[in-house]
């Protein structure tokens, strides 16, 4: 009966949990909040919950997205309030809106750009780092090895890095802004970019924070691929 989209924040307390953990956390919180969820048909009914692009373990963000189907219409503000009361402090809904009935359901498939704020300490001077950033952005190709447990494979990160810049420096501490490709057609992680700049996670104190998710073309940091925003009371009038 209607889908509600929520923008949520994953903060410090929950930064070490994975994407799947966030999904489980949301499902359980929704059950505790006794939201009128629409369940899937079939043997093992579960909520129709879709999440936006995964956030890596260790990264915080406040532009994170999920969408859920309800069986009975409900004010998105009430949903937000009831859900937040049942969510741990590290995962909190910032705003919620109903997908109007005439719009297609939200799947977050169009999101392909992520913006990060990265704080580095002890990685050298801002000038030196700025020079390395310029060098990085001037390269034609940035091939790295990806793997872990799987056999390693080579990826050229260069086309996946849209922009990197030093935005602020306070002594030892430097803030970087990164715009990186994300999504099913390939993406770069901020950790990878930092490592190309000679800074390895776990050797220097680093904080990664995702500040925005965008669909290509939407260059201004507005709400991600949100449909035209309408008041819930207005959309209600359109349903039969």
């Amino acid at each position: 009966m209607g889908q509600v989209v929520c923008r949520y924040r994953k903060s410090e307390e929950a930064r070490w949990i994975s994407h799947l953990d966030v999904k489980r956390t949301l499902e359980r919180a929704m059950r505790r909040a006794e939201l009128p969820l629409a369940l899937t048909e079939g043997h093992n009914p579960h909520p129709k919950l879709s999440l936006g692009p995964p956030l890596s373990v260790g990264v915080t963000g406040d532009a994170e997205m999920f969408a859920v189907h309800l069986e009975v219409a409900m004010s998105p503000d009430v949903l937000k309030e009831r859900l937040n009361a049942q969510l741990p402090p590290g995962v909190q809904v910032v705003e919620a809106w109903t997908v109007p009935a005439y719009r297609k359901k939200e799947t977050f498939g169009e999101i392909d750009v992520a913006e990060y704020l990265v704080k580095v300490r002890g990685g050298g001077s801002a000038e030196a780092l700025g020079a390395r950033v310029a060098e990085l952005m001037a390269s034609a190709e940035l091939v790295v090895q990806r793997g872990g447990e799987r056999p390693e494979r080579s990826v050229d990160l260069r086309p996946l890095i849209l922009s990197v810049s030093v935005v602020e420096a306070r002594g030892e501490e430097i803030d970087l802004k990164m715009r990186l490709k994300t999504g099913s057609h390939g993406g770069a992680r901020p950790q990878e970019v930092l490592s190309l700049l000679g800074i390895t996670d776990g050797e220097h104190p680093v904080r990664y924070h995702r500040t925005g998710l965008y669909a290509s073309g939407q260059e201004s940091p507005q709400r991600p691929p949100a449909p035209t925003r309408r008041r819930w009371t207005q959309t209600r009038g359109r349903r039969v």
Binding site: R9, E12, E13, A14, W16, I17, S18, L20, D21, R24, T25, E27, R28, A29, M30, R31, R32, L39, H43, N44, P45, H46, V57, G58, T60, D62, Q86, P88, P89, G90, V94, L117, K119, V120, R121, E172, E173, D201, G202, E203, H204, P205, V206, R207, Y208, H209, T211
Partner: protein, 597 residues
């Protein structure tokens, strides 16, 4: 504050700062960060006694242990006390902590363990004991009780392993034998006393509490032969603590909901405690008797509260054999009525081998046919009579028939090898039984026959203290390996999936299980040479353990593989689990008579 992460901090001595560097480097960092739903954060300054409740295995295993959560919530519900949690760090995390000189800390407030008043450690299983020592050492607390001073917390243990406390006697200030729901608050009272000697006096006065430093051990030969007696005053025997009224006993419904996947991510309700089946190899009777049940009303209320407080989508009914609950059909029916429509399922983790159990499982698992597990334990009726496993082949086949008819394609069977009086014919009979079950299954499944799967899980017999088989020997490793090969050769059908426990692991389990204080020295030597997480096959190193037994100047085979005379004084004779030695002996003699010896 939106849009900005907290600033990177620079105080090198700050644990949070170090964790920022450490956590990106370890597997599953959320094991160490807490913050879960229903975790309790109390003010340290206003708590009179502060407990760190520790589990000597990973977060995922420990968070699936109900006992830890029961004690956690009892303590935190009390206005004067506080409890936080800590689990054994995986070797990658241990290395990070050690290389930076950081102490082990609690999940809730990241307080170093050594700053708590009491370290409470669960003793779930023999192969976690090196982790017990490692937890203490990582906390900066001397592993031996004798080396601790007024500045150190009290170290108290308890759990299933406590029925033979001797292998750990020298490492603990107190070990509670039996159930902790009431005793935990008495332990807190004792710990509130000002100095260590007074606290130990307080502990010693608690019913069921064993204070090992007030007892001495006099060996009476190699292996588990010897006597433990009080040094001064104090009871000659410690009687296992029992909660009289299970229905009224506190039970946590606000169970902590982990972020990460754990062994059991579901509501667990203990519907019944104790087992009256009397299998002669099994320690359950000694550890959990008498049988007590919660009322249907209590269980339904707890289910209601727990589902509302956790948001889990499954309720698991915990008991040794949940099907033995007096009105299990009524209980399951009411739970399904109440929760079925909201997508919350009910699970029965322990089934009997019979058609009734299958029918019941069918009622609640109308859709999820994941697999059913039965434990016939032995292949012949003679041997099942010896071990007093009251299951016949008819029971097994009728259970299987009901399962196949209800839509299951997968069964799992548990067997033991090396049981007292076992011959190679008994082992061949296991293969024969399973092969006949496969033929039967193909016939019963008809068009679904290609989906048939029979899992066969084989463990070696481990003699356990306080059971009728406590005097019996575990077969030599060569014998066990030969019998395993009989099964490997006899179970070749592609529908059969055979798995077994490494006989070396079973041997060590037997040696610690029947261990005395000398085995404690071997545990310490093994830990000093690097043993931890011995229950994890990738970490288990039998060679290291053999060397540790050598260092302790004892033979593993004296503990694991020796038959003991009935009149041998046993190192656990001072622990009274409710079953008297004469009765156990009579049971053992009946078993041998039934076995034709």
């Amino acid at each position: 504050m939106a849009g900005s992460p907290p600033d990177v901090r620079g105080e090198a001595a700050d644990l949070d700062f170090d964790l920022d560097l450490i956590l990106p480097r370890v597997q599953k960092p959320a094991r160490y960060t807490g913050g879960e739903w229903n975790a309790v954060h109390k003010d340290h300054a206003s708590a009179r006694v502060r407990f760190a409740l520790c589990y000597p295995d990973t977060y995922e295993v420990g968070m699936s242990h109900l006992g830890l959560q029961v004690l956690y919530h009892i303590l935190n519900a009390h206005p004067d006390y506080l409890a936080e949690r800590c689990f054994a760090p995986w070797p990658d995390m241990e290395q990070e902590l050690r290389s930076r000189g950081l102490p082990l800390f609690s999940l809730e407030s990241r307080t170093p363990l050594r700053e708590f008043d009491v370290i409470g450690i669960t003793l779930p299983y023999e192969l976690t004991y090196t982790n017990v020592l490692n937890l203490l050492d990582l906390a900066g607390i001397p592993v031996r009780a004798a080396d601790r001073g007024p500045q150190h917390p009290l170290v108290v243990g308890g759990g299933p392993g406590a029925v033979n406390p001797e292998p750990l006697a020298e490492f603990f200030d107190g070990i509670l034998i039996g159930e902790g729901e009431e005793a935990i608050l008495e332990i807190a009272e004792a710990a509130a006393r000002k100095d260590r000697a007074a606290a130990l006096d307080g502990l010693a006065a608690i019913e069921g509490m064993y204070v090992p430093s007030r007892y001495q051990y006099v060996p009476a030969g190699p292996g588990p032969r010897g006597v433990v007696t009080p040094v001064g005053e104090g009871p000659a025997r410690i009687v296992r603590r029992i909660v009289a009224d299970l229905d009224a006993a506190p039970f946590p419904t606000r169970q902590i909901v982990p972020f990460i996947e754990t062994v059991h991510g579901r509501v667990t309700l203990e519907i019944m405690r104790g087992c009256t089946r009397g299998c002669r190899f099994c320690q359950a009777h000694a550890s959990y008797a008498p049988r007590r049940a919660r009322s249907i009303e209590t269980i339904l209320r707890q289910a209601e509260e727990a589902v509302a407080a956790t948001g889990y989508d499954e309720i698991s009914l915990l008991a040794f054999t949940s099907v033995d609950y007096r009105d299990i059909e009524g209980l399951v029916g009411q739970l399904v009525d109440r929760f079925g429509h909201s997508g919350v399922g009910v699970a029965l983790p322990s089934l009997r081998v019979d058609a009734f159990s299958v029918a019941l499982a069918n009622q609640i698992q109308s859709v999820r046919k994941s697999g059913l597990t039965f434990a016939p334990e032995a292949g012949t009726q003679r041997l099942r009579d010896v071990i007093r496993k009251q299951v016949t082949e008819d029971d097994l086949f009728s259970a299987a028939e009901a399962a196949f008819a209800s839509g299951w394609n997968r069964l799992k069977l548990y067997f033991m090898i090396g049981l007292p009086t076992e011959t190679e014919e008994d082992v061949t009979a296991i293969a024969d039984l399973v092969n006949r079950l496969v033929d039967f299954g193909r016939g019963a499944l008809g068009s679904r026959r290609s989906r048939l799967q029979i899992g066969v899980s084989v463990a070696a017999f481990v003699p356990k203290p306080h059971t009728p088989f406590q005097w019996m020997a575990q077969d030599a490793p060569e014998t066990l390996e030969r019998r395993q090969r009989i099964l490997q050769q006899g179970l070749r059908d592609r529908a059969i999936k055979l798995s077994w426990t490494d006989p070396a692991v079973s041997r060590l389990e037997a040696a610690i299980s029947r261990g005395d204080r000398r085995v404690g020295r071997a545990i310490e030597a093994a830990w000093r040479s690097g043993a931890t997480f011995d229950a994890w096959s990738e970490r288990f190193d039998f060679g290291r353990w053999q060397q540790a037994f050598d260092e302790a100047e004892i033979e593993m085979s004296d503990y694991a593989n020796a038959a003991l005379a009935f009149d041998t004084p046993l190192p656990w004779d001072h622990i009274d689990c409710g079953n008297q030695k004469d009765d156990l002996r009579a049971e053992a003699e009946r078993a041998l008579a039934q076995g034709g010896e």
